[in-house]
C-alpha cells in the first residue's frame, strides 16, 4: 500500500484515501469540437504508459478531495514529487526543468 504525500494536506497519507487519475499534463484541446479524429484518439486514448519516471494525476478523494500531480517511478513505485493541480509539469527533483510539454497548465 503506497504512502502518498498530499500537497494540499501537507501530510503523508495511506493510498486507501486516494484515487489514481491517469497520466498528467494531457491538455483538453482548446477548441475540442474542431480537432481531427486522429487528434481526438491521441487526446482521449493514447498514453505513454511510461516505464520509469512518469507524471500522473491522483485525487485525495477520501481526504481533502483535491486532484494533484505526482512524479513517480513506475518501476520502483517511489514518489519523487507531488504538486498542486494547475502547476506546469514539474522537473524531476535534482534535474533541469523539462521544456517539452511543460507549457500547458490547465490540464493538470
Amino acid at each position: 500500500m503506497l504512502l502518498i504525500h498530499c500537497p494540499y494536506c501537507g501530510d503523508d497519507r495511506s493510498e486507501l484515501e486516494f484515487r489514481w487519475a491517469g497520466e498528467a499534463h494531457i491538455a483538453r484541446p482548446e477548441v475540442i469540437s474542431e480537432i481531427s479524429d486522429e487528434d481526438f484518439a491521441e487526446y482521449f486514448f493514447l498514453r505513454d504508459n511510461t516505464k520509469g519516471i512518469a507524471w500522473e494525476r491522483w485525487r485525495h478523494i477520501h481526504g481533502c478531495g483535491r486532484f494533484f500531480n505526482a512524479i513517480r517511478d513506475t518501476v520502483s513505485d517511489k514518489f519523487l514529487l507531488t504538486y498542486e493541480a494547475g502547476l506546469p509539469r514539474q522537473p524531476v527533483p535534482g534535474t533541469e526543468p523539462v521544456s517539452a510539454g511543460g507549457a500547458e497548465g490547465g490540464a493538470a
Binding site: L2, L3, I32, D37, F44, F67, A85, G86
Partner: protein, 985 residues
C-alpha cells in the same frame, strides 16, 4: 522408554500439564510445549506423510520452516485448521490433533505405493503422458492425481471465531527478537523512538533459546534476553508483540503482521479475536530475522527421527525433551557439535558425530571426544534404514567404499545456516552472493530498512551486538561471547548423493523433490532456476523453500557448470508463513463485509411489508406484496393503482448534487449535453451526461432553485462517479469557474407521489405553494414547507402521471412518509417499489441508464438526440459524438417491441435476429433491454437495442430462445398515453 522428557532440562514447568489427542490417542504435554515437542516427549516422531510419495515423515525442525509435520489441529468440529506446523503450534488442553495425507492410517498408508512407482513419477512426468484419449485427462487421470495430491482436508463448517484488524504507525519496527533484534530495539527505544518489536515465538531470545553456551553482558544469553524484554516492556514507547509473524513487507515500509492471540489457550475468552492482523506503517524497519539451519542432502535423509541439529538442541534446552536415546549426528558445520554435547551432558547416548569436513575445528572435536563421543571426521552418512523411524545410519570415509552401519534412533543434521533474507527480498531489496560462505546477503535496500545480525551475515556475536546497537541509533554497548560462529557448512548434494547416483536424497521434503529430480530438470533444458523450480516444484511447498532453495540452486549450478548467481535465485514472496484468510479479512464479514445502505424510510418500508432488492450498496423496496400475493400479482396491483389512483414511492436513493455559484449554469452547460442557461429558476429539465467519448454516462432531472443554485439528480448507482467526474473537470479543466459541488444525496428523503390523485394527497401537507397546474406545472421546482419543515417540491414524473417528488430533510422523512401514506390509503393509493417503477416508466418509454444503455450507446441511439444542444460550442462529449462510428448509419437504437403473442413476456437479455432460421453463428441485430407484463395495457411490452431500429418500425424481428422462437414487431417506445396528456392533468 516412552517418556523422553529429561528431568531438570528445559524451561517448562513440570506441574502445568495439558492433555491432547493425536490420531485418537491421548497424550500429556506441558504448558508451553509445541505439538512437536509434546509428541517427541512421548517418543512419537512419525507425524506426517509426504506430498507425492507418501513417505513416512517426522518433525524436521523446531520452527516455521517445518516441511513435514503438518497436522490438522482442532478445538471442536468448527474450529479446525489443516496444515498446521507441529513445530510452531503450541499445545492447549483438549486439542484434537490428526495426521494428514494418509489412508487408512499414518502407520499404514496405501498412498505409499507411489513410493514404489517413484521411478515413473519423475519430475514433470505428467507433462509427458495422460494425453489420450482426449477426454481422459479431465475425466480419469486428473481426478486420481487430485485425490492423491493436496495435504489437509479443508474445513467443512463456517469458522465461528472472529478476527481483528489494527492499523499502527511507528518509528521503528524490529522483526525478530533474538540477540540482534533485542539489542536493536533497546537501542532505538532509548532514543525515545516509537518501537514495535515482533517475534514469531511465544518467548523472545531467538537462537538464545537453544544456544545455552552463549554469554551476553556476562549472563547466559537467555537470561540476558529476559532482562532486555523486561526493560522494553516497561517502556511506554515500546510495544512487544510475541506469537506474531511479520508475514509481508509491502511498498513504502508497510508491513503485514499476524498475531496469534488465542490458539495456545485452553479456554480462550470468546471476546478475544483468534488472531489479529496488524497493518503497520514504519518509518524505519530493522530486520533481525536470523538464519535457518540447512539439512544435509544424502540418501534417505527423510526418515522419521532425522532432524536439524539446532531443533534437537531447542527441544532439549527449552522443552526438556531428548529426541532419541541413541543419536547420530551428521554435520558440515560446528553448531551440530553443540547439540551433541548438550545431549550427551543430559545423559543421552551419542552414537557418533559424522563430520564430512576433513579438518573441523580442533577445539570442538576434542570437546566432544573428551565427553566420550566418537567423532568421525572426513566421513559422511551415505544411507539410512528404518521404516517408520530411523534405525541405523550407514557411514563411510569420504571416497571410500567401506561402509559401517551404526544403529541410531535419531539423526541430527547440520549443513550450516542460511540467512533469512525473505522479508528483505520482499521489500524489493537486491541480494548479493557471498561466494566465500555460499550464501545470499542483503545488498541494495529499496526502503528505509536495515538488516542486523545473522540475516545480514554478521556471525560473530560481538560484531552482531555492535551492529544491532548502532542500527538502533542509541548509545548502547552490549558485549558477548558465543561458542560458535554461524558461517561455513555446505550446500548441495553431500557425499553419495552426487551426479551419477539414483538414490533418493531429498532437497524439498514436502514435495519429495530429490537431487536427481533437479538434475533431470536441467537435462530437460530447464536452465533458469525459475524453470527448475516450476518443473520440479522445488521450493513451492507450504514452507516455500526455506530449507530447499539453496540446495536446489547449488545442485543445478553444479549440473550446469555455472556459478550460483548465474543460475539466479527465485524471488521470495509474501507471506513469510501462511496466513489465515479470516485474519486477513478481519472484520469484513457478514454485516461488515460491505455496508448495506438504508434510506431514511427503511423502517417504514419494512413495516409496510416490502421485499427489498440490492441496488449497488442500497437496499431498495422492490415491491409490497399483500397477503397471498406473489411478486407478479403485487406488481400488477401496484401498476394499476398507481395509474388509476396514485402510488407512493421511496426515491431517496437518487443521487443529488447541489451545484452552487455564479458560474453554475455555465458549468452544467459543459458537463451535460443540454443547455442550462435557458432554464429559469423554479423549473427543471431532464439532462443527459456523456463523457468525452460521447456515450451516455448518466442522466437525471436538474432543478434550478436560483440563478446560482441547481439541485442536480443522478442515477442511484451513478452518484459517486458522477460527482468525481464533475470534480475532475471543475478542478483541473475549468478551475476558473466560480462554482462548488456538494453531495446532498443523503440530506433529503425523497417521496415520489404519482398518479391522478397525487396532488390531492400531498396538497394539505404543503404550505406556501399553489400546486395547481397553472401555478406549478409539470417540470417545476419550489422550496416550500411540508409539515412544518423546509422542503423542496418537484413536479416531475417518471410514470407519465401527474407526479410530485417531496424532498424533506432526511430525519423528517419517516414522519412525512407516514402522513402521505395515511392520506394515500384513505384515497385508495398504494405503495410501490422499484419493480413497478420500472414497468410504469417502460410503459412511457423512459430509459434507465445502465439497463437500456451500456457503455456503447449515444444519446441519439437512445432516442434522446433532442437533449444534445446544437447551439453549444463546447461540452464534454461534443467531439466524441462526431467520430465516424458514432455517426454511422445502422447503429443500434432503442425501440419498442411488441410480441406477436401479447401474453409472451420477452427475456431481458434476449438476442434479436432478422432471420431465426440462419445457421450459427447467427447475425444478431441487438438485444432486449427491458421487458415486462403491462397490466395497464393488458399485454407485454419491451424495449430493445436494434441495429437501425428506428428505420425498422413495423418490421417483424425474432428472439430465438432455448426452447422456442418469439416473433415481435418493432414499434416506438411509448406504449401508454402516447399523447402524454395525463402528465399535465
Amino acid at each position: 522408554m516412552s517418556n523422553y522428557r529429561i528431568k531438570g532440562a528445559g524451561r517448562l514447568t513440570p506441574a502445568r500439564t495439558a492433555r491432547f489427542t493425536f490420531d485418537g490417542k491421548i497424550y500429556t504435554a506441558l504448558e508451553g510445549d509445541t505439538v512437536a515437542s509434546a509428541l517427541l516427549a512421548n517418543g512419537v516422531h512419525l507425524m506426517g506423510r509426504s506430498f507425492k510419495y507418501h513417505r513416512p515423515r517426522g518433525v524436521l525442525s523446531a520452527g516455521p520452516e517445518e516441511p513435514n509435520a503438518l497436522l490438522d489441529v482442532a478445538r471442536d468440529a468448527a474450529r479446525r485448521q489443516p496444515n498446521v506446523r507441529a513445530s510452531v503450534q503450541e499445545v492447549f488442553d483438549g486439542a484434537i490433533i490428526r495426521s494428514q495425507n494418509r489412508w487408512p492410517t499414518l502407520g499404514f498408508d496405501i498412498g505409499s505405493l507411489n513410493n514404489l512407482l517413484s521411478p515413473f513419477f519423475a519430475a514433470g512426468f505428467y507433462y509427458k503422458t495422460f494425453m489420450w484419449p482426449r477426454e481422459a485427462w479431465a475425466k480419469l487421470y486428473e481426478p486420481i492425481i487430485r485425490r492423491a495430491a493436496g495435504l489437509g482436508v479443508a474445513p467443512t463448517e463456517t469458522d465461528p471465531d472472529h478476527y481483528a484488524n489494527r492499523f499502527a504507525h511507528c518509528d521503528v519496527l524490529v522483526a525478530g527478537a533474538g540477540a540482534a533484534g533485542l539489542t536493536a530495539a533497546l537501542s532505538a527505544a532509548k532514543t525515545g523512538a516509537e518501537v514495535i518489536l515482533v517475534d514469531e515465538r511465544a518467548d523472545v531470545g531467538g537462537a538464545l533459546l537453544f544456544d545455552t553456551s552463549t554469554m551476553i553482558d556476562g549472563k547466559p544469553g537467555y537470561d540476558w534476553a529476559q532482562g532486555v524484554l523486561a526493560e522494553l516492556t516497561a517502556m511506554a514507547n515500546v510495544r512487544v508483540l510475541t506469537r506474531t509473524t511479520v508475514f509481508g513487507y509491502y511498498n513504502h515500509n508497510f508491513l503485514g503482521l499476524v498475531e496469534r492471540v488465542t490458539d495456545h489457550l485452553p479456554n480462550p475468552n470468546r471476546s478475544l479475536p483468534r488472531e489479529r492482523l496488524w497493518q503497520v506503517r514504519a518509518k524505519k524497519v530493522m530486520l533481525a530475522t536470523g538464519a535457518i539451519e540447512r539439512h544435509m542432502v544424502f540418501a534417505n535423509n527423510d526418515r522419521p527421527g532425522i532432524m536439524l541439529a539446532s531443533a534437537a538442541r531447542l527441544y532439549l534446552n527449552h522443552y526438556g525433551v531428548a529426541v532419541g536415546s541413541r543419536i547420530g549426528v551428521y554435520t558440515a558445520h560446528d553448531s551440530a557439535y553443540e547439540a551433541a554435547i548438550d545431549l550427551k551432558k543430559a545423559g543421552v547416548e551419542i552414537a557418533a558425530i559424522v563430520d564430512c569436513r576433513a579438518k573441523p575445528g580442533e577445539a570442538l572435536v576434542s570437546a566432544a571426544r573428551n565427553l566420550g563421543i566418537e567423532v568421525l571426521t572426513g566421513y559422511s552418512v551415505i544411507d539410512t534404514a528404518g521404516r517408520l523411524r530411523i534405525s541405523s545410519m550407514t557411514v563411510a570415509r569420504n571416497g571410500s567404499t567401506n561402509h559401517r552401519k551404526i544403529p541410531v534412533d535419531a539423526l541430527l543434521m547440520s549443513g550450516g545456516w542460511t540467512p533469512s533474507v525473505h522479508l528483505f527480498s520482499q521489500s524489493r531489496g537486491k541480494l548479493k552472493f557471498d561466494a566465500e560462505n555460499q550464501r545470499f546477503l542483503p545488498n541494495i535496500y529499496a526502503e528505509n530498512c536495515v538488516s542486523v545480525g545473522a540475516c545480514n551475515g554478521t556471525d560473530e556475536l560481538g560484531a552482531l551486538l555492535a551492529e544491532a546497537a548502532e542500527a538502533g541509533g542509541g548509545s548502547l554497548s552490549v558485549s558477548g561471547e558465543a561458542a560458535f560462529g554461524w558461517t561455513g557448512g555446505m550446500i548441495g548434494a553431500a557425499e553419495g548423493a552426487g551426479k551419477e547416483t539414483t538414490v533418493k536424497a531429498f532437497v524439498d521434503f514436502q514435495h519429495d523433490v530429490t537431487a536427481k529430480d533437479i538434475r533431470l530438470a536441467v537435462r530437460e533444458g530447464m536452465h533458469s532456476i525459475e524453470h527448475i523450480k516450476r518443473f520440479t516444484t522445488n521450493g513451492m511447498a507450504s514452507d516455500q523453500g526455506k530449507l530447499s532453495n539453496m540446495h536446489g540452486l547449488a545442485i543445478a549450478a553444479e549440473m550446469l557448470g555455472k556459478e550460483i548467481p548465474q543460475v539466479g535465485l527465485t524471488t521470495f514472496r509474501a507471506p513469510y508463513t501462511p496466513v489465515t484468510y479470516g485474519t486477513l479479512i478481519a472484520h469484513s464479514r457478514g454485516d461488515l463485509f460491505d455496508p448495506a445502505r438504508k434510506t431514511p424510510l427503511h423502517a417504514e418500508l419494512v413495516k409496510a411489508g416490502a421485499e427489498f432488492e440490492d441496488v449497488g450498496n442500497w437496499k431498495r423496496a422492490w415491491y409490497f406484496p399483500r397477503r397471498g400475493e406473489d411478486m407478479h400479482a403485487a406488481v400488477n396491483r401496484e401498476c394499476r393503482t398507481a395509474r388509476e389512483v396514485a402510488g407512493i414511492f421511496d426515491a431517496s436513493t437518487l443521487g443529488k448534487i447541489e451545484v452552487v455559484g455564479p458560474d453554475a449554469a455555465k458549468f452544467l452547460n459543459l458537463l451535460y449535453t443540454n443547455a442550462w442557461d435557458t432554464l429559469k429558476p423554479g423549473k427543471c429539465r431532464y439532462g443527459i451526461m456523456t463523457r468525452e467519448d460521447g456515450f451516455v454516462y448518466d442522466d437525471g432531472v436538474v432543478g434550478r432553485l436560483a440563478e446560482d443554485r441547481f439541485h442536480v439528480t443522478t442515477t442511484t448507482g451513478g452518484a459517486p462517479r458522477v460527482l468525481h467526474h464533475m470534480e475532475d473537470y471543475l478542478q483541473t479543466e475549468f478551475p476558473d469557474l466560480k462554482v462548488w459541488l456538494t453531495s446532498t444525496t443523503e440530506q433529503w428523503a425523497v417521496i415520489a407521489v404519482q398518479g391522478p390523485k397525487a396532488r390531492e394527497i400531498i396538497a394539505p401537507l404543503v404550505e406556501g405553494l399553489d400546486l395547481s397546474n397553472e401555478a406549478f406545472p409539470h417540470m417545476s421546482v419550489a422550496e416550500c414547507t411540508v409539515m412544518g419543515v423546509p422542503a423542496r417540491l418537484f413536479r416531475v414524473s417518471f410514470t407519465g402521471e401527474v407526479g410530485f417528488e417531496v424532498n424533506v430533510p432526511a430525519d423528517y422523512g419517516a414522519a412525512v412518509w407516514k402522513a402521505i401514506w395515511e392520506r394515500g390509503q384513505a384515497l385508495g393509493a398504494c405503495l410501490y417499489g422499484t419493480e413497478t417503477m420500472h414497468v410504469l416508466r417502460a410503459e412511457k418509454g423512459y430509459i434507465i441508464v445502465g439497463q437500456d444503455t451500456d457503455g456503447t450507446v449515444t444519446p441519439d441511439d437512445a432516442g434522446y438526440g433532442w437533449a444534445v444542444s446544437k447551439k453549444k460550442t463546447d461540452f464534454v462529449g461534443i467531439r466524441g459524438l462526431k467520430r465516424p462510428d458514432l455517426m454511422r448509419e445502422g447503429r443500434k437504437q432503442l425501440v419498442g417491441l411488441l410480441t406477436a403473442d401479447p401474453t409472451e413476456v420477452l427475456e431481458e437479455g434476449g438476442q434479436i435476429v432478422a432471420n431465426p432460421n440462419q445457421a450459427k453463428p447467427m447475425t444478431m441485430l441487438g438485444h432486449v433491454t427491458s421487458a415486462y407484463w403491462s397490466e395497464n395495457l393488458g399485454r407485454s411490452i419491451a424495449i430493445a437495442l436494434v441495429a437501425g431500429g428506428r428505420a425498422r418500425m413495423g418490421e417483424t424481428v425474432y428472439i430465438p430462445m432455448k426452447d422456442k422462437t418469439i416473433a415481435a414487431t418493432v414499434t416506438d417506445m411509448v406504449f401508454f398515453d402516447k399523447e402524454g396528456g395525463r402528465i399535465h392533468g
